[in-house]
């Protein structure tokens, strides 16, 4: 298992139903990693920057972020921008997972540095396929840990 059991999947989406469906379909392809769910961008950023009362990111642990765009308080685009401008956080793989399929927003996310862009298709077969493929990818991929040392070594 490339991702390793220590990989924590972060999912930021204000729709509980979507989160459930994503988790359910990932589990079906054997992704049983820890999930952390945030209902808005602010809570997610608090976690990443290790502040506030909620859970905090642990240095040295690998994470993957599934990010929705339309969220209250801080939206997905803003979160992505913040992450990709942060020298440490920019190594965090971000997969956009959103209902928005407007070409402009897709292009913007790629420009800001998302790793991938998945549309939550209304067609459920498509949706399931996409999540399955994501699961298969997660099983083989190696996720970087967010540590200053690693960052330096990676940059070299």
């Amino acid at each position: 298992m490339g991702a390793g059991v220590d990989l924590t999947i972060l999912i930021a989406d204000d729709d509980e139903g979507h989160v459930y469906l994503v988790r359910r379909n990932l589990e079906r392809v054997g992704i049983t990693n820890d999930f952390l769910h945030f209902t808005n961008g602010e809570a997610l950023l608090d976690f990443l920057y290790m502040r506030g009362d909620g859970p905090h990111r642990e240095a040295g642990r690998p994470y993957l972020l599934l990010l929705d765009i339309r969220m209250p308080r801080v939206d997905g685009i803003e979160v992505l921008r913040t992450i990709k401008q942060d020298p440490t956080l920019k190594l965090l793989p971000v997969i956009m997972l959103t209902t928005t399929d407007s070409p402009g927003e897709i292009a913007l996310c790629h420009e800001l540095g998302c790793s991938s862009y998945l549309t939550k298709s209304v067609n459920y077969e498509e949706f399931v396929d996409k999540i399955h493929n994501l699961g298969l990818f997660l099983r083989i991929a190696h996720m970087p840990t967010l540590q200053e040392d690693d960052l330096r070594s990676l940059e070299v």
Partner: protein, 527 residues
């Protein structure tokens, strides 16, 4: 209301009258000057004559008197022999001479000189005789002296002299009288002449007066007409000004309204965009959980099948679960439909936000390309498509392609299944605008549907067999709105539809270039 040009004629008449009057004034002036001068001359002459006449009369009287005195003195001297008489005679003699001299001076004015010289000669003779008598008396020859004075010759001279004097006096009278008569006649002639000139003057003055009155009247009338015209002009210009103002106002209002409409459109599109997206999220859940339910139900069904249970319970369970697939299929088809609508709305909302990249478009190539994409359907339906030469236009390549794709798609969709389909595409360029016509012999559009077909989600009710989301023409109109183009439909129900599209025309020069370029591209695509 306007003077019908009698003015120049009047002017002519008036100028004639003026000339007439000028002539009359000059003539009158000349006549009066002449008359004045003449009168003055006459007066002078008359004055001289009357003065001279009076003097001559007086002189004649004096001469007669002096002559008597001299003759008497001479006679007395001879008769008495006293020297006093002779002295008296001698003292009067020079007086007679001077008076005579004066008479001789004046006489030629009235009488012929011979008469005067005759008188003078007679006088000289008398004086001579008297001097002779005085000389004889001094010598003491008184009788001889007497003889001379009593002599017939002396008497004869005396008579001659007196007669001459009288003749002179009568001639003088006659001359004065004649002169008076002549001057009276002259005055009459001159007065009549002056009167005639004055009459002439009066007449011409009257003529001018009449003309000027007429002209004044005309002028007043013209003036009134002019004033009326000026008032009319002022009214019209005011009307024009207000019209211009009105127009400017409505133009600025139109601009404001267009801008506000554009703004509202943008706002609406944004709201539409957000709403469609927000609607999509729940839709994902409905569909997703529906499928999850389906899975769950089939799992339950399997479980029941594979578990030892009461037969009655199993059949009841299966009967209950039987409805689930039907329910789920309805949910699915409805959500699919909803999703289609949301897709359409999103596409529509995106239209307004996509920038328009205007370029010259070769419409011949574009239509060919579109038809190539529809070739399968065209062949399947056995439709005949005729395309004539099309003018190029200015627009966004993708969006204009969408316009013609949608309209042609509709033409194909709404063909009459009872007759072979015919679609015609034609176009022409008029004054900077390219006009395109897409006509078909399909089912046509009823008059009440004609405007509605452009509204969102409107579908021709009678045609349930045709699939579609009811957005095609809405998008077409929106795109054309943004391109300053237009679309209208002409149709007879049952007789087909005609869609007329107008767009700004492109420069002809660009077109040539485009033709060759896109033709190569098309060839490549075909190959």
């Amino acid at each position: 209301m306007y003077a019908e040009q009698p003015y120049p004629q009047h002017r002519k008449a008036n100028s004639f009258a003026v000339r007439f009057l000028t002539l009359a004034v000059v003539a009158a002036g000349v006549a009066l000057l002449w008359f004045g001068y003449d009168s003055y001359t006459y007066y002078q002459q008359f004055h001289l004559l009357s003065k001279s006449g009076l003097e001559v009369n007086k002189l004649i009287g004096e001469i007669v008197h002096l002559d008597e005195v001299l003759t008497m003195s001479a006679c007395m001297a001879v008769a008495t022999g006293e020297e006093d008489w002779e002295r008296r005679y001698l003292s009067f003699e020079p007086r007679l001479d001077s008076v005579l001299g004066r008479l001789i001076q004046l006489a030629p004015l009235f009488v012929e000189p011979s008469l005067v010289s005759q008188t003078q000669t007679a006088n000289t003779r008398l004086v001579e005789s008297e001097h002779n008598a005085f000389a004889l008396l001094k010598d003491g020859k008184a009788s001889a002296a007497m003889e001379i004075l009593m002599h017939d010759r002396y008497k004869e001279h005396k008579i001659l002299y007196r007669t001459s004097m009288l003749l002179l006096a009568s001639k003088l009278d006659a001359a004065v009288t004649e002169m008076l008569e002549t001057s009276r006649q002259n005055v009459f002639v001159r007065a009549s002449l002056v009167l005639a000139v004055l009459l002439f003057l009066l007449l011409s003055w009257l003529a001018i007066f009449r003309n000027s009155r007429k002209e004044q009247h005309l002028l007043r009338r013209n003036n009134l007409a002019l004033q009326e015209m000026a008032a009319e002009l002022k009214k019209r210009s005011e009307e024009l000004a207000s019209e211009v103002e009105q127009r400017e106002r409505s133009e600025s209002m139109f601009r404001r309204m267009t801008a506000s409409r554009e703004r509202k459109n943008k706002e609406l599109e944004l709201q539409l965009h957000i709403a469609s997206h927000n609607l999509r999220s729940p839709l994902v859940n409905i569909i997703g959980f529906g499928r999850e339910l389906e899975l769950t139900c089939s799992k339950i069904s399997n479980l029941i099948d594979n578990t030892e249970v009461n037969k009655e319970f199993r059949s009841e369970c299966n009967a209950t679960l039987k409805d689930v697939p039907t329910a789920l299929s309805y949910i699915q088809s409805s959500t699919a439909k909803m999703n289609q609508i949301l897709d359409g709305l999103l596409r529509l909302s995106r239209l307004g936000r996509n920038p328009i990249v205007k370029e010259s478009l070769n419409m011949n190539a574009m239509i060919r390309e579109i038809l190539l994409g529809m070739q399968y359907r065209i062949n399947l339906q056995g439709v005949c498509v005729e395309v004539s030469d099309l003018p190029s236009c200015l627009g966004d390549a993708v969006q204009i392609n969408q316009v013609f794709s949608n309209v042609l798609d509709n033409a194909l969709k709404y063909l009459d299944p009872d007759r072979p389909g015919l679609i015609r595409v034609s176009g022409e360029r008029r004054k900077g605008t390219a006009y395109f016509t897409i006509s078909d012999n399909g089912i046509g559009i009823s008059p009440e549907d004609r405007e509605k077909i452009f509204t969102i989600f409107h579908r021709v009710a009678s045609e349930s067999r045709v699939s579609g989301e009811g957005l095609g023409l809405t998008i077409v109109r929106r795109i054309l709105d943004r391109h300053e183009g237009d679309i209208e439909v002409r149709s007879n129900e049952g007789g087909g539809s005609v869609f007329a599209i107008s767009l700004p025309a492109a420069d002809e020069l660009d077109r040539e270039e485009f033709v060759s370029e896109s033709e190569t591209m098309l060839e490549l695509a075909v190959n």
